[in-house]
Symmetry: C2
Subunit: 117 residues, 2 copies
DNA sequence: CTGTATCCAAACCGATACTG
DNA sequence: CAGTATCGGTTTGGATACAG
């Protein structure tokens, strides 16, 4: 006999919902991209701009500032001549990587299938 | 209501990054929440509204339509009296669940730590 | 090379009221 | 109960130009 699906109360995560908690950090379409490209190590503005196809400098700048404000990345000034800057993931940022990995994994699978179709 | 997939020249089909592919499906702050609450089985409008605290009916409606348009969920009419409707994850939608799970997992961890501090 | 400033369009979100 | 309509606000994003 088929199990009667009981309409349960939702498994409600205690508020505030951990989803929103997390989405605040990686909200915005470009944000996961930036984190992903920083996962390989420190990178500079121009490198990121090259990494991420078609991102405008304004958006990259905005995302970087936003990520710095939420503590996901850190901006490090390199005292060279000329002085330069690098962006690196903080420890908090590193903890988001499993999510990004999953996104990449599923995204690749979806795209493969679409190309096959 | 037409789905507005933004198809600018910035969207190159050959883009090497599968992240955007995936983020298009779960963009928006409420979207992961909706998917999460549908993971337990079909749910109706009012139930979802109850599940997700503080979502306005307008936003819920918008997210549901958008998710339906991208093929993540399906709207099923129940021939009862009165006729009713349920929303259920499609197969595509189910494939997104590992991501949502990760988001919940990391989000919970972050919150625990913040409360400890 | 590393960004910032400006203008503008579209998406997202909240509050509220409303229809069947 | 199951949504839609309207109004308005904030955020995201694109294009382009420009400054250090």
């Amino acid at each position: 006999m088929a199990l009667k699906i009981r309409r349960t109360k939702a498994m409600k995560p205690s508020s505030p919902c951990p989803i929103s908690e997390c989405m605040k950090l990686l909200g915005g379409a470009w944000t996961p991209n930036v984190i992903w490209y920083l996962s390989g190590g420190p990178r500079r503005f121009g490198e990121l701009r090259n990494d991420i196809p078609d991102i405008s400098p304004k958006m990259l700048s905005a995302r970087l500032h936003s990520l710095e404000a939420t503590g996901v990345i850190r901006r490090e000034i390199i005292a060279s001549s000329p002085p330069s800057a690098e962006y690196v993931l903080t420890e908090l940022g590193s903890e988001l990587l499993p999510i990004i990995d999953k996104i990449v994994e599923i995204g690749s699978k979806l795209r493969e299938r679409r190309q096959a179709a």
